[in-house]
Subunit: 336 residues, 4 copies
């Protein structure tokens, strides 16, 4: 950790600060420049809080030299992590497509979609039972009944299932769900993250709309520091000034996260823009840039979907997209 | 609700769509322009989901004419709402300052701060017991013990207390807290909002870092549609490209929210920028633009605060700021 | 154009407004909903200014139904435009790589780079002679001498050249430059755009850091409405809250612009993030999503480059990247 | 300047780097931490380019300790600068209101507005003759004729005039204009800035829509390093994700710029949100937070203004606003 002191810092205060750090077990390296004195702290600074150090009267700015994340850090764990979700493996060298409806609506609907996406090559089934909606007057999902229908579809098709959790009291309800999704709005719902850290259930952690990559990694750190090592990141678009698309897919985040961390990263091309026509182009970019998979919204009847219709592919569109995606995954020498 | 149809929409599909709307009880008004046909829907469109209507094959775009919020809407409730929080009134015509430490650290600390801010003119005491921290390794608050210390300070000083809730299972723990704060990261934690809607406890609802004003109003709608009419908004800065300040205070949001809604709006000048030197200037702007109050971080020893030191005022700085604020509130003919 | 009137609009004012529009040659379609009256204007509304219509006292909001751009609009010009730049064709079905140093520094440097990138497969040479730098104290480029060195490299290698113009008085200086680049900071320097509209010189128009896709198209409209039909768009990253990368590449913009317009779109993976390690991954994504080319910074000695070193590939890195890009362009059935 | 080296940096490369810096005249201070070696450079590092230093193979990150701006820096020039614009003084302790139409439309219009705003207390007249418009089909201003009309109004009322320049060849046209405005879109049109640096004409430099405060200061540095010390900053809203207002006024920028620089800062409450109703509330906030003035759009007939009608006050609204502003400026003990 490097401290740049204020230009007018008095020498006695500088001396006192250095003594303080020594008494806390840090070695220091002091450099007096033409305008500023700089203190380098040597030792395990992960326990120090940048905010507190910054607020010391004579300190102008503080720079952390080491990353604040540990368990997610590739430096601590150089090999790629492969996650097993109900028998399906997710991680480097593989490419896994998760597909299904925004909301589970009926047994007929979810089974029809599940069978169709399986035939098209999807390896897992997604479906929303608890839906985070901006408006309290919008459809909120079928809740526990929705999960039951998903499990029914799993029984029929054998596809492991992925569904979003919004409430830390629902952990037991999700016992048979293969991947628990934490949505963008809950990326920093720390109590939920801590709860998920207590189990070993794979967690699909979506990036928040205005969260940095570092914050995303720190949220995974909440889960992993609790003991659960099974975290999959999902880039799904961030909020910017551009209004032509609902969100802006931060495609650079994929190689960057894979540099920084050993955990898998998948892309959600449906929520990224909210536009059906862009799902396939974005999927192509995701495959090419090295994502470990996709999560795609598919509906048998998008025009009558109870949510997010405009971004859902219909069964035939998804089937066509998968033919294209498969060719591309093969080109990348990955296993689908 | 207005539907702009695609240029190439076939007449038979247009006719079928119009019939569908008629069968759902809507009257329609159809206008055929040089390039596009436009359908105006007449009736209670609040039940219609824009996303679903947008996804109809022949529909290009949809525009909602009425606001999606009801209970928070000033059109439905033209008079300003005044909220009673432990005997302190908050709302138009009044100006309430909430002050206290970011985190409750010890009995001595919180009582000393409470007595001092009371003397300086604060009407409520804030203090964090459950702290949302980006890192799992950072200080997370004293939890239930922190709440006890706050209640102790309330007993000693008589100041009603404000503290942040992060977990919907903690509602009972907050039974004696006068205002429950929902932090920026939980603004769209809908299960928490629904839970708070079940009580009549005043809720201080902070705007999320990347949430629009409309989304903020819709989150209040979650609380109010559950039955709890006591919501206070808090503008605390949004996330933008500017890095000189931690966040960017959206000062225009204050008059805009007060136009759209009857609920009180206060400003958090401490989190808005994360810089101590800017707390007083931003407080002045907040008073002048018509905010109903402020929530300010104050610490007896900012350099050793366990969180957010750089933005906390010390007791003397707060006292000086309050002298200035008081003069300005009087200038606005408001009661403090 | 659709006008939503205010809830309390008086009938006589509504009637007067309708008469006004009739007198200006528009037909109207009036719809009286439960809360709002809506007027649809029929006729050539491209002459109407949304701002002025919005400011009419009884008007609440205005929605334009047709896009404001014409010459760039694919609806007006369904076939893809192919642009000839010094004999090299750029557009759909082709894939063109432009490469070269951020700044031209010396004859030896630019010729060495030109020969090397040509051998690796680049079809055009880029090089900065006039450099837009945030600081007046930073290296500003070799100016006219830099252009001369580029022309020298063109003579030696036969590669057409691309260089940035910052000053409308420099048009003559750029007479022998094959593509004139308008940088992100000048995307709305309308006098420069108008000047470029007077010639038929191909223009590489980079998206501004905070400009929407619609604004980018409108800036091309400035050039095209002056008579110059040779515009190539360049997506180079936008400014967002994320600080891990210098900018955020808006990858969705590529398919979206190609839907809206018939003009070519290329990607700048170097400026998009400012990180050398991400140039190749982003190039892969650009090829896969359908971009018509790339513009890549290459330097023979990045560590001593006079600008933008951290994002430049060295000659060998570029050669390796091109081998990969070539394979991918073949996979897309495009000609390189 | 502080260099953090990569974890695996080899000692011989570190030694070579240190020798290089010594040979360039810098002293160094080297600190070997548990994970990283850190080099502090001592000497005049303002000549070093952060980008180049960052790109050295063994360097991970670089941190500049001193600000990159000099002439605008309050550290170099502690007293506030007061600027004389046609006899009107602008700067700390004073409060100057500039008012007038978005566009000059006719002699009658501009003189009527000028006389009225003068009577209401405005000290300078603004008016657009060259208008930066997103669309080439929108009204572009009356150009040289517009400037003549402004000068006419100046003759009649004695008010110094402010108008926007978009073209560096127009400097002579603006010879009698008292303050030359550089608009948001041209904030980094460096050739224009350099040209303005050659004169001593006061420049009103508006912040770009996506430019940081530091970039704004650096653009002023372009003007001042050319010799022109008369720069006035203008905060006019930045581009964020919020769409309820056209832009987001960054109110914190005012005290922050005044801390960093000795130059005056004014606020444009009209462009900040594009909403007439918010002009007066934002003006109150600007006065309270310490701005040195306002620039307000006023039109005698906003509903028929040729541009930006929705944000313009009419003559009576401006007169009422000025009564309120005057009272507030007096409260701040400033001279208007």
């Amino acid at each position: 950790m490097i401290l740049v002191l204020k230009q007018n810092a008095q020498q006695d205060k500088i001396n006192k600060l250095i003594e303080d750090f020594h008494s806390k077990g840090f070695a220091t390296n002091v450099s007096s420049g033409t305008s500023h004195t700089i203190i380098g702290l040597i030792g395990d600074t992960s326990k120090l809080n940048v905010d507190i150090v910054s607020s010391i009267e004579i300190v102008e700015t503080v720079k952390r030299v080491s990353e604040p994340f540990k368990a997610v850090n590739r430096k601590m764990h150089p090999e790629d992590t492969i996650i097993d979700a109900g028998g399906v493996k997710i991680g480097e060298g593989l490419f896994s497509v998760i597909a299904g409806p925004c909301s589970v609506e009926s047994e007929e609907q979810v089974i029809r979609i599940a069978e169709s996406v399986k035939k098209s090559g999807a390896k897992l089934l997604r479906g929303g039972a608890f839906k985070p909606r901006t408006s309290p007057y919008a459809f909120q999902g079928l809740h526990a009944d929705g999960l039951k229908l998903l499990l029914e579809a799993k029984k029929v098709t054998g596809l492991p299932i992925v569904s979003e959790i919004m409430n830390l009291n629902h952990i037991d309800l999700f016992a048979d769900v293969d991947i628990v999704q934490v949505g963008a709005r809950n990326m920093q719902n720390f109590d939920l993250l801590k709860q998920l850290g207590q189990s070993d259930k794979p967690v699909l952690l979506k990036r928040g709309l205005a969260n940095t990559i570092e914050e995303l990694l720190m949220s995974a750190e909440y889960i992993m520091s609790g003991g659960n090592q099974n975290v999959i990141f999902c880039e799904r678009g961030i909020r910017t000034f551009e209004t032509a698309t609902r969100n802006t897919l931060d495609i650079s985040a994929i190689p960057l996260i894979k540099q920084l961390s050993h955990l898998p990263v998948i892309v959600d091309p449906s929520h990224a823009t909210g536009m059906r026509d862009l799902v396939q182009p974005l999927s192509r970019a995701a495959v090419a840039i090295g994502a470990d998979g996709l999560i795609i919204e598919v509906h048998n009847d998008p025009a009558n979907a109870l949510c997010d219709g405009p971004q859902s592919l219909d069964l035939e569109q998804f089937d066509n997209a998968m033919k294209d995606i498969t060719r591309r995954v093969e080109f990348e020498n990955k296993i689908m």
